[in-house]
Symmetry: C2
Subunit: 360 residues, 2 copies
């Protein structure tokens, strides 16, 4: 069996951390005798520079011909003057999500034991640890709802966006959240604003219906404003958080920041056929790009998720995760994970990749 | 000069903490020889029980005949089975905001010195303190935008909400944010999602225009997802946060929780004529209602804000704030602000009110 991966390294630290992910993938290929082919395509700012648009046709075609997309990160100050629609993030990520109907975004965020001090939370809260999976609807809601635009003139000129959700859309994402909870701690917290939004009232209704098929999973509803608060007091009480597109954007970032180690977090955006886009949570970090100090772990873990979810290569995925776990517990850490006075022990981007590949 | 205040104590701890605010108001009336008349009206759950709806006509008329509304809090488990539109919070607060066009919500949140340990943030972050004012647009956006509703059947049934902002609406709230910043640390952080929402693109444009009239105020833009994160790492770097209705709902609650002492926070919702609704940030807290342990400070500070903003009685407002400051620094605290092993020193709701009134 041979597999095809589209590699979209992108901007900022994207190419550097992608190189390490490729090293680690080579190591698992060898160990598990896999035949994976990689095709690299421009995306984001790099694609604007080389092709004049953030998501060129050749990139899209290349992705269509692949089993999955390994995505780096896009964006940076160089392209910030462009109109919103032409910028790397909005012009690359949103159309990819739409085109492949990647309706399901999963972002696991765990406070790694030994890294509790990285969390911005008070030590008595962070010492309890937490392990939350944010399941976010990714192709609906106010991101893509029509009509969206502007009308009128002068001080009466107005802009409008439409939040829109159908039963079908809510059902399919809710199911995934409940299934995920069954493999975890059997709890789903559905985030909405049902005291204000018609979409949230329907969301709650449908989630309740779906819950009937999962009697072993506990379901609770929470308003988005309260969720933002409770995550700060008792993150350990959450398991799976089920969110619409906009609320998931906010909640998944909040949880990521609560771990204090974004460089360790990856995410998958999938469609109903198992095709997915795998990316680190952290962004292109242009401020540290090119210095060889970026943490490649999130990109490496994205590759592991890709093997698991899109290629169904559980053993290879687990091997990567175990090797990452060993590196971290061996104290193999990039600078941002170390206290200021221990930064001299920091590993470089490529040292991290080498070590993890070698463990495999 | 005689003043008229509509008192809407509401549900849960509302009536208890309102009683203390009234004590304190009596003390300033005496000291400053003011003539304030109070009229009490049912609101929220109490109004549902007594009149069959959360915002009875007599309450609305009473508010119309007053100079300002002193609001307690509404809601509780007793009314949670009702349809969303008939519930105390949505059925009382939203129509009051709409009816009086209370477009400007201001929620100051400060980490009081001596109470840093209450913050859920890591001690090296909380020790720097923070003092943020959230200026939230309160009568527009997705809360009130039309169309809002449901259509279709079966799995294609869908719900929709409309986010809508006009230049005029954005201009008037932005001006208030910049004016407020001039009286503080001269910085406005405007929160949006301009990489996705048409409303946010217009928001950014208009805020930039308004900023031109305030050259002494620094302006920065931040995406809502990033704002949620940065508040956790460096809350001390924010001064005024300018938000649309939905984003302000989220941001103001996050900041409130970051102080760790919601019982100290109050807010004002004003219209262009200076008429306002003043309320504590904390909610009705039905779990501790009737026990005499709720913290009345937020309600008392709401009264101070009312004197300042709607009645223009700066001296009386400052006197209340000074008395509250003295109570807190004298260690006069309700239980939730004390470490578990010092709870035996906790003051009751009425002891707090008595002390503050007596200081005045
Ligand atoms: C870049 C932006 C459009 C995107 C989003 O809001 O979905 C990003 O914040 C994310 O979460 O992947
Ligand atoms: C009760 C609810 C409708 C309200 C809101 O979302 O505005 C509340 O959360 C608030 O912030 O005052």
């Amino acid at each position: 069996m041979s597999y095809q991966i589209a590699v979209l390294a992108g901007d900022g630290i994207g190419p550097e951390v992608m190189a390490e992910a490729r090293k680690v993938l080579s190591a698992v290929e060898e160990r598990f005798e896999l035949a994976i082919e990689y095709s690299e395509y421009d995306i984001g700012g790099a694609a604007i520079d080389n092709h004049g648009c953030p998501l060129p046709d050749v990139t899209l075609k290349g992705c269509e011909a692949s089993d999955a997309i390994l995505f780096g990160s896009v964006g940076g100050p160089k392209w910030e003057h462009l109109p919103p629609n032409d910028q790397p993030e909005r012009g690359a990520l949103l159309p990819l999500r739409g085109h492949f109907e990647l309706f399901c975004n999963m972002r696991p965020a765990k406070l790694h034991s030994g890294l509790e001090h990285m969390s911005p939370l008070r030590s008595d809260i962070s010492s309890k640890g937490f392990d939350v999976l944010c399941v976010r609807e990714l192709t609906g809601g106010i991101y893509f709802g029509k009509p969206k635009g502007r009308q009128g003139e002068g001080e009466n000129e107005e802009a409008f966006d439409t939040m829109r959700y159908s039963r079908k859309e809510i059902t399919r994402i809710a199911k995934i959240a409940f299934e995920a909870a069954q493999g975890r701690r059997n709890k789903v917290t559905s985030v909405d604003k049902a005291n204000v939004l018609a979409c949230s009232v329907l969301w709650r209704e449908v989630v309740e219906e779906v819950a009937k098929d999962f009697p072993d999973v506990e379901l609770e509803h929470i308003y988005i404003d309260n969720a933002t608060m409770q995550l700060l007091r008792r993150p350990n009480e959450f398991d799976v958080m089920l969110c619409s597109n906009l609320f998931g954007d906010i909640i998944s970032d909040e949880i990521a920041m609560l771990t204090g180690s974004m460089g360790l977090l990856s995410s998958v955006s999938m469609n109903s056929k198992g095709f997915g886009l795998y990316e680190p949570a952290g962004g292109s970090a242009p401020d540290i790009a090119g210095q060889g100090i970026a943490n490649p772990v999130a990109q490496i873990l994205s590759a592991a998720l890709l093997l698991r979810h899109s290629l169904k290569l559980e053993d290879a995925a687990a091997a990567i995760e175990a090797a990452v776990g060993k590196a971290l517990s061996d104290g193999y850490l990039t600078g941002e994970l170390l206290p200021a006075d221990e930064r001299s022990n920091a590993k470089t981007t490529s040292q991290m990749g080498d070590y993890i590949a070698q463990v495999i």
